[in-house]
């Protein structure tokens, strides 16, 4: 915490530049993306949005066959229906997010009024509760249908997460997510970066780990192993459990900040959700 505050202060006063020590988010992003481009020179940059299939030609064919009859199609349809459903007060989600909900590229965003990261899932629930409707559960079920529809409407939008330079709390949230990504956690002692950066593309038993570049683009996901759709935070929780770290609350501060960092790192790619994964 202390280091976060001090790095924020340093950033605010431009000291970090003067000392040339800690780079800002943009420099982080450039170095992050370059890391993967160097490691996987055969992968065209825009293809990192396709997760592990961007680096695993053997699995790609099967995945492309799955995408021809996508397992998330029913979710999109159900989501569209829910999206246009009229609330008790006569309004609908369209009153919050427009006719087709194509707002994916606005999230995750920094809310300077409240000093917190707002994700698309959180915004959906806030729209519901503001209109007297019941909020949805955050990891699976209805929330994945609504966001599948909204993501589908938004396909092709560019990832362009912003970290407003005028608000040191935004930088602190980013730094918090960044530190989380690079610190080893859980009894098994893994950082996200261990599997999704330093050994990305390696085999863990029968699983190849995907590059972290592209992790935020394609949610929600239909995952064969789940036999259902899930949100990004559901996936975070799964990776945490695997390393014997107690998962954090879906849409709690820890995961929202992590999403802020992860998605910012994918700036420049295209949003291509919903997705299908093994």
């Amino acid at each position: 915490m202390k280091t976060i505050i001090s790095s924020v202060l340093a950033g605010a006063f431009g000291l970090s530049l003067a000392f040339g020590v800690s780079a800002g988010p943009f420099e982080d992003q450039v170095a992050f993306q370059k890391f993967y481009e160097n490691r996987f020179p055969d992968t065209p940059t825009e293809d990192f949005a396709n997760g592990v299939y961007s680096i695993l030609p053997t699995a790609r064919e099967q995945w492309e066959a799955i995408e021809e009859f996508p397992p998330y199609e029913l979710a999109i349809e159900a989501g569209e229906e829910f999206y246009n459903r009229t609330f008790a007060n006569g309004k609908s989600l369209a009153d919050c997010f427009g006719a087709d909900g194509a707002v994916r590229n606005q999230y995750p965003k920094w809310d300077s009024d409240r000093g917190m990261v707002v994700t698309m899932e959180l915004a959906v629930n806030e729209c519901l509760t503001a209109n007297g409707e019941k909020p949805l559960k955050y990891k699976k079920g209805k929330i994945t249908e609504v966001t599948a529809y909204m993501s589908f409407s938004s396909r092709g939008q560019e990832v362009e997460v912003k970290i407003p330079s005028g608000d040191p709390r935004a930088l602190a949230a980013y730094e918090n997510g960044k530190e989380h990504f690079y610190t080893k956690r859980g009894q098994l002692n893994f950082a996200c970066a261990d599997c999704h950066m330093l050994t990305a593309g390696n085999l863990y038993r029968a699983d190849t780990t995907s590059p972290g570049f592209g992790h935020g683009t394609h949610w929600p996901v239909y995952r064969s192993k789940w036999q259902s759709m899930g949100t990004l935070h559901r996936r975070f929780a799964g990776c945490h459990k695997n390393i014997r770290a107690n998962p954090y609350k879906a849409q709690g501060e820890e995961y929202r900040n992590l999403e802020y960092f992860v998605t910012y790192m994918s700036n420049g790619l295209e949003f291509n959700g919903p997705g299908a994964r093994k």
């Binding site: 009894q187 002692n189 893994f190 261990d194 599997c195 390696n202 038993r205 029968a206």
Partner: protein, 111 residues
Amino acid sequence: MKKELLSAMLISALVSPLAIADAVKQGKEIAWSRKKGNCLTCHMMDGGQQTGNSGPPLMAMKARYPDRAMLREQIWDPTKRNPLTNMPPFGRNKILTEAEIDAVVDYLYSL
């Protein structure tokens, strides 16, 4: 170096071959178990199937690690030698008990 060899010899003289065979068998179970060592996630070893490839194949351990303490340390806390390793510190994080680590070392020496 000599001392370690000597003590290893002493230990093997004291412990019956049967007990060692037992420890090796037990060590293999621990190393292969997904709940315990799960070494196959990253290491090719001993003809195991569906192994990962983050770590080097484990073989000829006696020749590579004549010093038992060094081999044990690599399992107890590999981050001491390499802070960037993804190999879990089985001792420091209490993933395995001290006795289980000893058994795994016995097993590795049989490879």
